[in-house]
Subunit: 404 residues, 2 copies
């Protein structure tokens, strides 16, 4: 049978997808039956254009250091495939005697992997296709969570804590802070800002795309908290939608959709700053870490790095054992202390599907997460956040009349 | 003579201003002649309202851990003072027998400190006033650099490197990346993104407010680089101005000015995304880390943390030795390896003045920094950035006709 391996990466980069590649390649190098180890440049685009590299020629130290290198070392893509493309992909895989095709990505990529597996079976090609879960969006079905999520969650927990500490210090001039996080269809990333909570820090309000965004309710929430504490920190998702299901603030320009037809989002933070300024007459500003949040090795979760490596390793070993048309999943086996193991699921069960934040994780006011969410997400970000000093601020007695 | 100390923090929070407070308090605790150690809540506002805390009552461990806690633990402010306020401030300082007033802040705060010192002298109060330099903007005169800058520079160097690695991976769908950094009047922060350079990473173009922003030139720059490499990463300053001296994209709403009359900036990234999309028909997106950049302990520079502590210590000891109406400066005594010592400058020399990025640090095309800037800024960010793995990507031979 064909005994070459082809590995490719797809969709948005993450802090840990290279750790998965390292896991795959390390496992392949240890298995005698794998001959050549190829990487496709820019995901499925590299397969289409036969732009493949020989990973056996890489320095072993460099391969090993992929575990500490964010983004996607082989390059990634977002590319919609038609029938012609699938035919070509199978030709390329056959021409290079690929017996194992491992594709790391999200729900679009799992659909691609499934179609490749199906077509290979129809053409009676002896090839195993395994999907490696990867997405900061944490929206793949079946798996407890997705590699990439723990790290973006840690970044946002730290960023929200820092940003709220900033607001606490300077609220007499900058009173309202809005943090816009990534997240197209699901609010997992935005929810993770709640992991900053404790000691009076972190966001006061969190709005997820799982609930319609109602401006008047938002303004009432902000007003209430501002009257109580004199400052408000708010985390919002770039994919917020209004009651009619329209993105709260999406660009409708032609260029701003990707090849899957997804609108390019962003602009929610800016919009909410204007809303607060105009309606409440309070000064607001927004932070939008953008792509920085998904590729921060500085904030990577040790749990996430380790699991990303492990799903890569398992994908390779399961393919070698003959499994195909499957994605590796993470199964939480114990909560406190956190423990996990891996499983397999049919690609068709995850392809193109989106796992939203469940109702149990969102409070009834639709403006924060529940303790259940915190219990779910806390172990995924690795070590506890580094502690910060908090002064007790023992007031001294005033001796003068008030200044008016 | 009055033998109480009052310390206060002002202006935008930073990763290291609490390290300066720790330096001041640690030094004060070691000097027998200081009786009470007070902190003003929210800077000069706390002085006006007599909202003072007793720092001798804080847990020594908490005080020591301020060195690793970002933002401004005593609270900060931006508040414009008039004659009435200065009179009140002197009353409060006298009523609490303040012999030492140490104020950490930027050029507005140094003006405040100077006026307090002058008024105290006029009223023949026995009081020493020392300014402790603090600003991520790095725009104070005389001092080689400002505590706070090294850390925001390290954050932006890491963020720009990560963000460019992201663009390198996903450029086939997201081609142009714009990173909007802080910086009202000077481009020091934006320039620091260049410290990400090397190994093909970091920004390709950098635009500073020291040069007028010319949209057509910008578009030509972007087009040239995109045609050569297929992707462009651009760092821009929120304070960019056009040829007529107007902010490229400032909000002119009434709420969006602070009490010093400074316009609230931001929106440049969003504007440039539109410009690129409309004029070049290329997809662009922007990252705007906002306030997160200035309070990231995760990315704090060890050099910056240490120097911030030291300027606090020195401010206290110089005040105790009888100096007044001065600001502590940092003097670079050796470049490679980097070494520094502290000096003193009259507050009037730094009050309200702004040090721009000098011509020698900006290239003649006005779209990047020079090696001289890199030599200046590199030591300030502390340890070298953690290395990332770079695959050599040895292509394998194509065996099929091209896919068209």
């Amino acid at each position: 049978m064909p005994d070459n391996l082809l590995v490719a990466q797809s969709g948005g980069p993450t802090a840990v997808i290279n750790s998965s590649i390292c896991g795959i390649v390390t496992e392949a190098l240890q298995r005698g039956k794998i001959r050549s180890i190829y990487g496709a440049i820019n995901g499925i685009l590299g397969v289409l254009t036969e732009d493949l590299v020989d990973l056996r020629k890489e320095d072993p130290d460099v391969l090993w250091n992929l575990r500490r290198t964010p983004s996607a070392a082989l390059g990634s893509c977002r590319y919609k495939l038609g029938e012609r493309e699938y035919t070509r992909i199978l030709e390329v895989l056959a021409a290079h005697e690929i017996g194992y095709f491992l594709y790391a990505g999200g729900n679009d990529s799992m659909d691609t992997a499934h179609k490749v597996a199906k077509l290979a079976a129809e053409k009676r090609l002896d090839m195993r296709v395994i999907g490696v879960p990867k997405t900061v969006d944490n929206d793949l079905m079946v798996t407890d969570h997705c590699p990439g999520y723990g790290s973006v969650a840690r970044f946002n927990a730290i960023a929200a804590r820092d940003s709220s500490l900033d607001t606490e210090a300077i609220y007499t001039s900058d009173t309202i802070k809005i943090i816009e996080t990534m997240g197209r269809d699901a609010g997992w990333i935005t929810a993770s800002t709640a992991l900053a909570s404790g000691n009076g820090l972190g966001p006061n309000l969190i709005y997820l795309p799982e609930r319609p965004f109602i401006p008047d309710q938002f303004l009432a929430d902000v007003k209430t908290i501002n009257e109580r504490t004199g400052r408000v920190v708010i985390a919002v998702c770039e994919g917020l939608k209004d009651e009619s299901g329209e993105f709260v603030k999406a660009s409708h320009k032609g260029l701003d959709t990707d090849s899957f037809g997804h609108a390019q989002l962003g602009g929610v933070g800016d919009y909410l700053v204007s809303l607060v300024s105009e309606k409440l007459k309070i000064k607001a500003r927004f932070d939008k870490p953008g792509t920085i949040q998904r590729v921060s090795m500085q904030c990577a979760s040790t749990v996430d790095l380790e699991e990303a490596y492990r799903v890569g390793q398992i994908a390779m070993s399961k393919a070698a054992e003959g499994e195909s048309d499957k994605m590796v999943t993470i199964i939480r086996t114990h909560s406190n202390p956190y423990e996990s193991e891996t499983g397999l699921v049919d690609l068709i069960e995850v392809a193109l599907k989106t796992r939203k934040v469940p109702d149990a994780y969102i409070n009834k006011e639709a403006n924060f997460v529940t303790q259940e969410f915190l219990d779910y997400a806390s172990p995924l970000i690795g070590e506890p956040l580094p502690p910060y000093a908090r002064l007790k601020k023992d007031r001294i007695e005033k001796v003068l009349p008030n200044f008016v």
